[in-house]
């Protein structure tokens, strides 16, 4: 079946605008994760969902960031009033399940959304 898909693949926005990033996980995967990867850096864990719920939102960089997941499938990451430091690749991953936030089984990553804030 299809892998994890993300849209858009690239997004250029002006500082102060809101953006919405979308992730379609692999069908049947109950766990979904958002990460951010800045140039030359490793991945920064942002938030995970078990079904529709996100038990811990402390990884989100600021209150301008929010995420939701509906129907146990698609997730959206919203960044309000974007800043230049938000420029990065935003990666989504899904897995069959998790236990206390720890991924069970392999995480499958999408190709990411490259966000550029000008």
């Amino acid at each position: 079946g299809a892998g994890v898909s993300q849209s858009p693949s690239n997004k250029v926005t002006e500082k102060g605008k809101d953006v919405e990033l979308r992730c379609d996980p692999i069908s049947g995967h109950t766990a979904l994760y958002w990460y951010r990867q800045s140039l030359g850096q490793g991945l920064e864990f942002l938030i995970y969902f078990q079904g529709n719920s996100a038990p811990d939102k402390s990884g989100l960089p600021s209150d301008r960031f929010s995420a939701e997941r509906t129907g146990g499938s698609v997730s959206t990451l919203t960044i309000q009033r974007t800043q230049q430091e938000d420029s990065a690749v935003y990666l989504c991953a899904s897995s069959l399940g998790l236990s206390s936030g720890r991924p069970l089984y392999e995480q499958y990553f999408g190709p990411g959304t490259r966000l550029t804030v000008t």
């Binding site: 994890v4 994760y33 990460y35 030359g40 850096q41 490793g42 991945l43 920064e44 864990f45 995970y48 811990d56 990884g59 990666l91 991953a93 206390s100 936030g101 720890r102 991924p103 392999e106 995480q107 499958y108 990553f109 999408g110 190709p111 990411g112």
Partner: protein
């Protein structure tokens, strides 16, 4: 501050050479994973190690988990240009209840 330190940050070698990259932390991992990431793509899982002292082999790649579960290494034998990519280690830290990634080792294998 990175919880996971990877070294070297960059590595450029000739085809056929051997190499080792390292992943170290002052914290104990519940489990550790190695990923390879190519430009424009998400990381792809290579291996998961769970038990201290564990050694796993995947063709020309050998992964080792330290006895104390604070460090890991990835050894590639007879590197090929297709091995070029960003190698990331990631550990699950139970105290933080999240997964942390190292900054990666960017490997270039020249033909």
């Amino acid at each position: 501050t990175q919880l996971l330190e990877q070294s070297p940050q960059f590595l450029s070698i000739q085809e056929g050479e051997n190499l080792t990259v390292y992943c170290n932390s002052s914290s104990v991992f519940s489990s550790l994973q190695w990923y390879r990431q190519e430009p424009g793509e998400g990381p792809v899982l290579l291996v998961t190690v769970v038990t201290g002292g564990e050694v796993k082999k995947l063709k020309r790649l050998t992964f080792q988990f330290g006895d104390a579960r604070k460090d890991s290494s990835l050894h590639i034998t007879a590197a090929q240009p297709g091995d070029t990519g960003l190698y990331l280690c990631a550990g699950w830290f139970p105290n933080n209840n999240d997964m942390r990634f190292g900054a990666g080792t960017r490997l270039t294998v020249k033909p």
